[in-house]
Amino acid sequence: MDEELERTLRRLHEPLSRDHSRQRDDLVAAIEGRSPDKARGLKRHLALLAAAAVFVGIAVGVLWRVVLRQPSPPPPPDEPEVAFAQIKREVEEAGFAAQLLAAADLFARLPEGREYAVDRYRHIVATYPGTTAARTARQRLAAGHTGGKANEG
């Protein structure tokens, strides 16, 4: 029974093993690209490639800074400080002009001081042209009366 069974089994399995060698070669060809050694080799190559890329990146960065980059431009002018000084000066001028305007208005109330007041108004307009006091002094001069507004106020 055993021999007969074995013989029949062999006949059953025979067609299955047809092309065994070719199939084995196909399989080996398929796995050779996936060999653990080759996979490890590929990982090593990738690591080297990544390290080389990092090195090149750093080198290019250093070159860019050291050789190719233009000298740094001079620092920008200290604008906030200048602006502060200018504002301080304008405030001071506005203060002086306002004091002069107040004094001129006081003189303008007096009949003998009107001529001096006109002279002061002109001085304010000429010396502190951008101030509120200069604008007021200009209006006094244009109105033709030297102490009118002051008197009205």
């Binding site: 059953l12 399995h13 047809r18 060999s35 050694d37």
Partner: protein, 180 residues
């Protein structure tokens, strides 16, 4: 190289020796194909499935914790691939291996005795069928066959004898039916 143990071969493959995997193929492909053939009942599908089994085996070889148990492990993969095939998942990936022209008469054995034996084998429980395949395809080596099945020697012999008895009975019944 053919006499090397499975454990040594596994370690050789993991060290990059693909020729060692070819030895595994020579040793176990007939058994793997037979198991696949029981599932597919078609020679070409069985051959394709066997290729898939060995390819998966190679890919997952590092996950094999006990290299000496390669035979049982590859049969485990075979059964899994066959289950996938039955579910139809694998059939959508049939282009993985180059298609081979089907020759007339190839898939179905033309020998009546062979056809009857295969029918009878398919009537056996899966474990007993594997015992028959393993014993006769691995040169009647009970030691190798029991390793494939993960059984003790005595356990394997009991299983093999049970399979033979059942096979004789099934074949006798089929003969009776044919005569009747």
């Amino acid at each position: 190289m053919g006499s090397r143990g499975d454990g040594d071969l596994v370690r050789a493959v993991l060290d990059g020796d693909t020729a060692a995997f070819a030895v595994f193929y020579d040793r176990y492909a007939p058994l793997v194909r037979a198991v696949c053939h029981d599932a597919t009942r078609n020679v070409h599908d069985a051959q394709d499935l066997a290729q898939e089994v060995f390819l998966r085996g190679f890919r997952r070889l590092r996950s094999l914790r006990h290299p000496d148990r390669f035979a049982a492990w590859i049969i485990g993969i075979t059964r899994h691939v066959c289950r996938e095939w039955r579910r139809g998942a694998w059939q959508t990936r049939r282009d993985r291996w180059p298609a081979e022209p089907v020759k007339a008469g190839d898939p179905v054995p033309d020998d009546e005795a062979v056809r009857r034996l295969h029918q009878s084998l398919l009537g056996l429980p899966e474990k007993e069928r594997l015992a028959i395949h393993a014993f006769y395809l691995l040169d009647r080596s009970a030691e190798q066959a029991r390793r494939v099945m993960g059984l003790s020697r005595s356990g394997f012999y009991r299983c093999l004898e049970r399979a033979k008895r059942r096979l004789r009975r099934v074949m006798a019944e089929e003969s009776e039916m044919d005569r009747g």
